[in-house]
Assembly symmetry: C3
Homo-oligomer: 105 residues x 3
Amino acid sequence: MKLIMAIIQHEDSLRLTEELTKNGINVTKLASTGGFLRSGNATFLIGTEEDKVDDVLEIIRNKCKSRKELSAPSAMYMGGSTWPVEVVVGGATVFVMDVDRFEKI
Amino acid sequence: MKLIMAIIQHEDSLRLTEELTKNGINVTKLASTGGFLRSGNATFLIGTEEDKVDDVLEIIRNKCKSRKELSAPSAMYMGGSTWPVEVVVGGATVFVMDVDRFEKI
Amino acid sequence: MKLIMAIIQHEDSLRLTEELTKNGINVTKLASTGGFLRSGNATFLIGTEEDKVDDVLEIIRNKCKSRKELSAPSAMYMGGSTWPVEVVVGGATVFVMDVDRFEKI
Ligand SMILES: Nc1ncnc2c1ncn2[C@@H]1O[C@@H]2COP(=O)(O)O[C@H]3[C@@H](O)[C@H](n4cnc5c(N)ncnc54)O[C@@H]3COP(=O)(O)O[C@H]2[C@H]1O
Ligand SMILES: Nc1ncnc2c1ncn2[C@@H]1O[C@@H]2COP(=O)(O)O[C@H]3[C@@H](O)[C@H](n4cnc5c(N)ncnc54)O[C@@H]3COP(=O)(O)O[C@H]2[C@H]1O
Ligand SMILES: Nc1ncnc2c1ncn2[C@@H]1O[C@@H]2COP(=O)(O)O[C@H]3[C@@H](O)[C@H](n4cnc5c(N)ncnc54)O[C@@H]3COP(=O)(O)O[C@H]2[C@H]1O
């Protein structure tokens, strides 16, 4: 059993949920916020057998698009500049982790 | 150290929190949503020593009940039917994961 | 790749986010609730290379302070007493976990 934690953009959340459910893949969604842009995104928890991990990643690749966003001025600590800067937000940031034990109670 | 991630039904959240606290078990709760029924549930994060994992699972088993729910019509992508279908929602879906390092700062 | 899950106090969330971003460390924030005090706190997800884990922990140590809080009466299941009791809430509770696979899609 593996746990996939995928941080995706708010705009793709519904489309991805529908596609996962259509393929019989269970998912739990958490509302989250990005540290840099401070805007709402979504963190998906997907527990799945190891041999299905690639299928899930393929679905995420098909349903989650990268977009250009303007960073909020408050986010520009780096160079101290206060002008909004354009950043590319990727389709998904995905962590696949090992699960010792899985139980349905 | 292990991290237990337990997805439980909204109705059992308070009762489970009280029982865990009564047994001196620390817990952090996250509001979450199920992918299929789209209704609110709860994801519990419980960091505990390996020899206490079975105790925690026993408490979850005692406090979290399975229930019959009607699936929202919008959730029925599978066969294309739009009639609500009865599903059994289990007491808890539990992932136990290994923790490399645990620190209280 | 490691995933750091840090549960921190609400009051330190903004300061910690700014410091992590200033150091080029990506973070995703989840709103959470403590099991004992029942008050809102924050769970940070930080995916980072293994050789940067100590830097991240150092930033958390610098930006997250422990505080004395009064426990809500409802939280006192332990001895049955209903008087609020003073507890020390630590700066952060931190889990570092191994990541099998990391992908930016
Ligand atoms: N210090 C910095 N300087 C300049 N540009 C920066 C930056 N930090 C982030 N960015 C840019 O801003 C986008 C949005 O970041 P945000 O933190 O709001 O939202 C992030 C965050 O919520 C999450 N994320 C990404 N990498 C992560 C990691 N290693 N650990 C935890 N969460 C991560 O995924 C969302 C999208 O990330 P993505 O990399 O596609 O897109 C990022 C990246 O292109
Ligand atoms: N492997 C996994 N990874 C991540 N999270 C997981 C998971 N397995 C379960 N969950 C979480 O636990 C909740 C209850 O799941 P359970 O399997 O007991 O109860 C499920 C199951 O009986 C049924 N169900 C789920 N997906 C289905 C599908 N594609 N077709 C038919 N029935 C489905 O609907 C109930 C509610 O599902 P919902 O998604 O709303 O809510 C799920 C979801 O939030
Ligand atoms: N092993 C673990 N797994 C998952 N999450 C964990 C955890 N250890 C700590 N946390 C999270 O970190 C918050 C702060 O914990 P801390 O131990 O510093 O500070 C704690 C501790 O000093 C005290 N406390 C917690 N449980 C207690 C109990 N059963 N009896 C007496 N004091 C308790 O109350 C403070 C606030 O606790 P609260 O539950 O509201 O909030 C907790 C909880 O959200």
